[in-house]
Symmetry: D2
Subunit: 345 residues, 4 copies
């Protein structure tokens, strides 16, 4: 008897591989038997071994970083662009031409219009023609279009936590679509791997500060995705804060109830809404950062505040996993028809 | 020629002196030449030297803790009660009888009615007759009544940061008195010096979690003080969070603007409102925890969010200083007719 | 054609399952397809669901904690005792009678004599008859005896880092076996999951302190294991410190060179000594905690200090993995004839 | 009757005023009534207000940073150079010409020979002629020469903690002057205020790493000062580590006892040796970082390890206070004939 087995191995390229999201992609993909990282592109560390830059990989891999000019994308099945916004859109068109599936982790292909992009990102968009092709890669909303697209715009970290928390309440018409107040707290890895005084240990430790008030580029992303998904014109205020931890986002949302509804009813609606979502956990306990660290989960808990007629939502993710690399891998799984949680649990 | 000089030395007793607020009172008072700590009462550490419990005081003082039963309050000019809520009201009546000035750092004398007290503190009030005598010790509102009272109810840490941030906007009718959403982040010393699993390092580090949603005892305090000060019925939602740092509170407030007003106008109103407040700093830079640590300042900054028609307020204090012991000393200074900032700058 | 396949599933019991080492065992074992956790025994959390105590497990398991009296060890293939020293020796005899393989994570079966045990652990040993049966479970020394034993005494966290660092140098006669100075730094999870003032966040954060000088129970363990393995009488001084992080041990060792030897030669000897050790990495870069967090690696680097004629050794592990649960799983793998790194990489 | 009072106000200049040591000098000096900061020189922040760079100073001062070329040192009584080593020696000669007292916080004038300097600092010394004039500013050794000199070389942070811990034992001949093993742990502010990837929060948090093994520039400083003070040829090995906290140094020293001596005797000798040292506390409790934070104290505790015949010394300082700015102010007080602890307690 003969057994013919065909094992498909995904060939993978990561561009911007030396940053924190890039390294997290490597962590998630290097352990898989159905994926093989072929190319790690990095301008700043080109020529170095992976374990020189991230010594945790010593003895586990012989991967090396390559300069973009030296990289070939022939036979690559999926390319991840883990570059800063503004940089990504310069290289994604080439990737999209040469590689069948591209997942972009930057903010460059998340907004529908170049006007909004320029207003918040403060520079021109150089690849507007790709915008209509990009699918916003939040699997809990766009699973089916992700499965068919060649270009995924991987969601931002703050938007992932805020959108997943608000979506069921807005869909069910429980809360007002306007006057929503979002307060988010983020660990430092969200700012990327770079040297700046304001991100130095001495400045961040024992400190909290809000930043980019009213101007954060994730505001239009949250509003656009929620408006499109609910058919309502959603507006939110958003105040991000930097807190002294490496990973994790905690998002606390105050919204106005449109009806009298009990804690149990809201909990039931959320449970039901996410009953098939592999990575959203609707919790009776108060959500906390620790429970999602190094996982692809988004934990959500809620409180009906009868006294003020508010629905208070708490949601938490690991910014490098569900907020970046993990969600990108989840999208990759969907694009290849694999179970969503392959290599993620 | 003869010079008659009379140097008045305040004799001080601290009850509950081994807790974090008590220790901060000692830090602030021990260095003053016009004050002398006579009595440190502590049930848990009675008989021990101060520097056994807090080795930082080694070589600086010979103070010892005494049991309440062994303490005399004769000749004491001012007594600070730094006990947990519920414990304080059992001893304050005795203190108030024996000592001319009492400053209570607990929540026991901050609310006007025993009904509200019991609803939030979850136990009966055993000294209701003292409630009408207590003055809420927020010097930025009640300076003159503090100067004349024999009993100060020292404000809570969260209320101090929230009330000072909201007061000018509410007084000037800039924002709606309802629908105010308060999100606060606190370091761990606010929970007091005690052993519990949930406050252990391993549980708190690299974590954030909200707690006491809709049930925190500071909700009625914030609402009552703001309502009384503004003549409006103020209601707020309030979500406190525990964050991994020792000291500091960061409060972020979303409120609805009632009129079209510019950033500059609001800034000007705040500057003007607090022009004589020694310990409130209205800031152009975004408020951050680090700037107020180990000081009695409350830093406030603001953002007029035209897009959502909100006034976003940020305020920060050190919970052990302006949020507890520092404000208590500020109140003591006022009660004795001293400059407000004696020993506080 | 017929294929007869026999898949062996290890049935597992964990006693003391609600502590940090117990929870780490669950993390490591729950994801394996060749292992099934049958029983979680915990006195303090008996009756509760695992995800009530550790909410990170929400949606991932239905495991519950049981009281010891309610637990059955029938059909259990391996039992892990993750109890405090002193508690473990009360239950291990019963486990050893009823379960074919027992791995004890406490210090109760690591020392050869009850005299030494009592001298350092400060209580009597109640199961001396089991001492000769226990194999010290450091696979880099005792792989073959671990494979055959029914009782493994899993090494302490500090000893693992110190012994692995010193072993090659002592074996090769490079350094003096006496006058060795070990300074170790540990994160807080090493102290276990318990409520105590001294382990509270406010006390540990922004602080460092040495403890148990000259009296730590790991001193006889380090000396005994190294002496036995090298045939020399090894004596060490040992100063452990508590540092503000959750996980990780950093051990810095000063030892006296017995011969003139170059950095390259020592590096070569170490590389060669550990060439087949799956979880020891001899590093050219300076060892750092971050590289081993949540891994079963022990990273070692070294510096020949010509000026002082010392060999300085640096070694780092995750105290909950290679220092406890990970090493226990490594031992389990060896006991079952599985590859050492099953479920550990 | 007439009273003639002459109040002397020290006019102060700080060069390199925007760094962490410079800012700490400002914190210590700004509150004094007998000192007035006239000039803050900083290349990187010239033209900015102090409170723009350090917002904690908002409302407390109108000081501004000046470029060196725009600064006048006329009427300055004492100048502090708080520049990096290598930079300082370029400006100190000019300061020394124009200002009667100069206190240099860099390492440029601490070593007796340019050979040693170049060997460890890796660049030439450009002001060798000033070396013989500089007095090493450790008041516990050199009080009287500090009082008379015009140029103080303020000690390094690590050397301060190590020298003060070792001095009594070496002076009394209790321990061998060779084979001394020093392990030090430092918070991040010791690395200065600068942007580098390796000092970023994400890299330092939850991590520990040794650095500059066998090559740290404080090695010759420790050896030289101890040798000169004791008349013995002292050699030490020294391993500094970076730990996740902002401030504080913890130094653990293993040394060999030369005689049989009890814990009590050593404690007594240390107590006696430092009986007049205002800022050294010999402690029965184990020294810990928290007790010296934001103070000018050096806390020392010790352990006679009979088993290994070692004297283990623990010492801790705040690297920005006793390890830099505080000690500089202590030196300034001595130079002006003021009590040593003016403005420091």
């Amino acid at each position: 008897m003969q057994i013919f087995a065909y094992v498909f191995i995904m060939n993978i390229a990561i561009i911007g591989a030396s940053g924190y999201s890039g390294a997290e992609l490597i962590r998630l993909l290097a352990k898989r038997s159905d994926a093989e990282i072929q190319t790690l592109v990095s301008g700043t560390t080109a020529g170095k071994r992976l374990d020189e830059v991230y010594p945790e990989f010593t003895g586990r891999t012989n991967l090396r970083f390559t300069a973009l000019d030296d990289a070939s994308f022939k036979d690559i099945d999926v390319a991840f662009a883990a570059l800063p916004s503004g940089e990504s859109m310069k290289i994604v068109p080439k990737l999209h031409d040469e590689v069948p599936r591209v997942i972009d982790l930057s903010g460059d292909f998340r907004l529908p219009s170049t006007e909004q992009y320029t207003a918040y990102y403060k520079h021109e968009h150089v690849s507007p023609s790709l915008l209509p092709k990009a699918v916003y890669g939040l699997p809990e909303i766009h699973h089916d279009t992700i499965a068919k697209t060649s270009l995924v715009a991987n969601p931002g970290c703050y938007p992932t936590s805020a959108i997943l928390a608000l979506l069921p309440a807005l869909k069910h018409g429980i809360v007002e679509p306007t006057g929503i107040s979002i307060t988010s707290l983020s660990g430092t890895s969200g700012a990327g791997r770079s040297s700046s005084l304001e991100m130095s240990f001495t400045e961040v430790h024992d400190n909290i500060r809000a930043y980019k008030l009213g101007a954060h580029q994730h505001i239009p992303e949250i509003q656009h995705v929620l408006s499109k998904a609910t058919g309502k014109s959603v507006t939110v205020s958003f105040v991000p804060h930097l807190v002294p931890m490496n990973r994790g986002i905690y998002t606390t949302i105050h919204s106005s109830l449109m009806q009298s509804i009990s804690q149990e009813e809201v909990f039931g609606l959320y449970k039901s809404y996410y009953r098939e979502a592999r990575f959203v956990r609707v919790k009776e306990q108060v959500a906390q950062v620790r429970d999602v660290l190094r996982t692809n989960y988004c934990d959500i808990s809620m409180h009906v505040d009868k006294r003020t007629n508010q629905l208070i939502l708490l949601s938490t993710i690991d910014n490098l996993v569900k907020g970046a690399a993990g969600q990108a891998v989840q999208n990759m799984n969907i694009m290849f028809g694999l179970p969503e949680d392959c290599g993620l649990s």
